[in-house]
């Protein structure tokens, strides 16, 4: 699933936040306004009843009402108001009821009780508009008993006011949300523009431009990304260069034996030869082919060594018996070269036995190949607290600093001319074996002594 763009997500989130906040504020304001208006209306209704009560205390008032009800009607009522004055059980003296609404059945407040806001009844008219009403009794001077005042008011204007207010809130909220969305899109775009330029920079880096790097003056948040990306580029560049170099070297290495094979076979086939010649040819071909096969084996070994997922078979290895095995393998060869093997391997080591044997054998073969006649090759071990070091030391030509730096490279040989029997991969294999063990290999060479050290980290 494609993730939504950062810009869209941010502006949506901000808009929703604005809508929620505005809605909550709007609701609170609306509610408080509605309550205030309602209280004000209720108080107005009660004031009217009070006024009428006061009016009715006047002796003449009743007479006047009885004589001129319309005057009072006009004076007291309007189109939204309801007002009925009556003696209980008698036809009303005044009825102001323009909406022709049925009279609410309310128990009137007794004449000696003051009116409170709770005396007001909140009803809903047939049209859904709120309707408030109240009823009270008022004593009359002439002692004819009490007169009942029923009054009410349809809250049409209040509804309208609130409706208007609500609309305004919704409008403001919507506008704010849209504005926030637009502004945030713009802001986020602006803020993310370094990302886009980084992307453009990254796009310009391809195989031919691996040396290019991302610009360093990035925003604080992007700096770690840029640094990590540049480091990755450096590693890629090194790896790529090594890979190209290895491919080129390998092609070069293949060229020699294949050239020999082609040439000698071609010459041999150009005319009829003796059986012995054919046998010699095939034997020679076999030698070259075997060399190729070994090279392929070694190259594959190196390629696999770089694959960290490759299974390893680690065991505790007794170094003394491994030393004996290697001595048995190499001592004839050492003797042929008038060299001595000094085996001083002791203790135990956690490693892959085949790989360890191979690494040591390669180092020993190397030491015997380049060591001077009459000198010893010393193989020793050193047990450290969290590692084991194996050292192979020979007396021979000193390696220059440059040679020391390249000694573990594939196909590199100390003498430029092809050294018979050397694949040029032995030390590269040693290095990759050490990498597989998360260990290190080092070379030191000074005053005619060359020392290779393998360091195997050991679990505590």
């Amino acid at each position: 699933m494609k993730r939504h763009s950062l810009t869209l997500r941010l502006s949506l989130m901000l808009s929703v936040t604005v809508i929620v906040i505005f809605s909550l504020c709007g609701y609170a304001l609306y509610h408080s306004l509605a309550t205030q208006i309602s209280v004000r209306d209720d108080a107005a209704l009660l004031t009217r009843i009070d006024q009428i009560r006061t009016l009715l205390r006047d002796e003449d008032a009743i007479t006047l009402i009885q004589q001129k009800p319309r005057l009072f009607a006009n004076m007291l009522g309007n189109t939204e108001s309801l007002l009925v004055l009556r003696f209980p059980g008698q036809p009303p003296l005044i009825v102001v009821n323009p909406g022709q609404r049925p009279l609410p059945a309310i128990t009137p407040i007794p004449a000696d009780q003051p009116l409170t806001l709770s005396s007001v009844h909140h009803l809903v008219s047939a049209g859904g508009t709120p309707f408030i009403s109240a009823a009270a009794l008022a004593p009359t001077r002439d002692g004819n008993g009490q007169i009942e005042i029923v009054t009410g008011r349809l809250m049409r204007d209040r509804t309208q006011t609130l409706q208007h207010y609500r609309d305004q809130i919704v409008l403001a909220t919507t506008l704010a949300a849209v504005l926030v969305a637009a502004i945030s899109i713009w802001l986020v775009r602006r803020a993310l523009s370094p990302l886009r330029s980084l992307a453009a920079e990254a796009e310009a880096i391809d195989v031919r431009h691996l040396a290019r790097r991302m610009p360093g003056q990035a925003q604080a948040e992007l700096e770690p990304l840029v640094a990590a990306f540049n480091q990755m580029l450096s590693r890629l560049e090194t790896g790529y260069q090594q890979l190209s170099q290895v491919s080129a070297d390998m092609a070069h290495e293949l060229r020699t034996p294949i050239g020999t094979l082609l040439g000698q076979t071609e010459v041999a086939l150009s005319q009829t030869r003796s059986l012995g010649d054919y046998q010699a040819l095939l034997g020679s071909n076999y030698e070259e082919l075997e060399r190729l096969a070994k090279m392929i084996d070694n190259m594959l070994f190196l390629a696999r060594a770089e694959d960290a997922s490759q299974a390893r078979d680690e065991q505790r290895i007794d170094l003394a018996s491994l030393g004996e095995k290697l001595r048995s393998y190499f001592d004839d060869m050492a003797e042929e070269k008038a060299m001595r093997l000094e085996m001083a391997l002791n203790g135990e080591l956690q490693a892959d036995p085949l790989l360890l044997q191979r690494a040591l054998a390669n180092l020993m073969a190397n030491a015997l190949r380049y060591g001077d006649a009459g000198t010893p090759v010393r193989i020793s071990s050193r047990i450290l607290p969290s590692a084991v070091e194996l050292v192979v030391e020979n007396h021979g030509p000193t390696l220059s600093a440059d040679q020391q730096a390249r000694v573990f490279d594939r196909f590199w040989r100390a003498d430029a001319s092809r050294h018979q029997g050397s694949s040029g991969l032995g030390l590269a294999i040693v290095r990759s074996i050490m990498q597989r063990h998360q260990g290190r290999c080092e070379v030191q060479s000074a005053h005619g002594i060359t020392r290779f050290t393998l360091r195997f980290p050991q679990p505590a």
Partner: protein, 224 residues
């Protein structure tokens, strides 16, 4: 002894047939998995050499199919030498494997080992070649009634030669069997060891027993 070779590559198939026939085996070949499976079901073989990468049904499938009915030992041949690959083959019931490219001498040695295992044939305690005698248990070597003192290494090397009389043994095979060094160590260790053995075994005698096979390796044989 009948061997079935299932291999799709024509040249490889031909040299294996030729080499194994010359080594005294009766060889049938199949160039795909379906035919191979058919032959394996129809005839009785003492050993099957199975290439893993076959067109149609591959070697793994052939092995899985055979496993249920046929109990012939199988050596599988693979170009991929990864540990996972090897484990897979052995889990499917293969008895041994060889990673390409391999030397024919190595193949022959593995074939003989498998066939010996199948027949439970006991190895002789005393190996002889012409006037040379090697006693495996006493670790004694005599030639023409004359005791020859050999180092451990020389004894093991001669033992290997006498177990494979007339066969060409490559340097890789020798390094692997005598010293358990299963990799190319870029050295002439084997040549040095053979040279020293020769000095003791052949040096004082008229008839040489250890012969150099040019380019390939060595062969132990009482040539006319």
């Amino acid at each position: 002894m009948k061997i079935l070779v299932i291999e799709d590559e024509a040249k490889a198939r031909d040299y294996m047939r030729k080499g194994l026939t010359e080594a005294g085996f009766i060889v049938d070949v199949a160039d795909n998995g379906v035919d191979g499976l058919f032959y394996a079901r129809e005839h009785h073989y003492d050993l099957i050499l199975l290439d893993v990468m076959l067109p149609g049904i591959d070697g793994w499938q052939v092995m899985a199919e055979m496993d249920q009915q046929i109990h012939t030992p199988v050596i599988f041949l693979t170009a991929k030498g990864t540990l996972e690959d090897r484990i897979k083959g052995l889990e499917l019931g293969a008895d041994d494997y060889l990673v390409k490219p391999f030397s024919f001498a190595e193949l022959l040695a593995r074939v003989r080992t498998q066939l010996r295992r199948g027949s439970q044939q006991k190895l002789p305690d005393i190996l002889t070649l012409a006037d040379l005698q090697l006693d495996v248990f006493k670790r004694r070597v005599e030639r023409g009634g004359q005791r020859i003192d050999l180092t451990n290494k020389e004894f093991n090397l001669l033992h290997l030669f006498l177990l494979h009389p007339g066969e060409v043994l490559t340097r890789t095979l020798i390094a692997s069997r005598v010293w358990d060094m299963n990799f190319d160590s870029d050295t002439n260790v084997v040549d040095v060891a053979v040279k020293r053995l020769r000095q003791k075994i052949d040096g004082p005698f008229a008839q040489p027993l250890i012969h150099t096979v040019h380019g390939v390796g060595y062969r132990c044989e009482a040539e006319a």
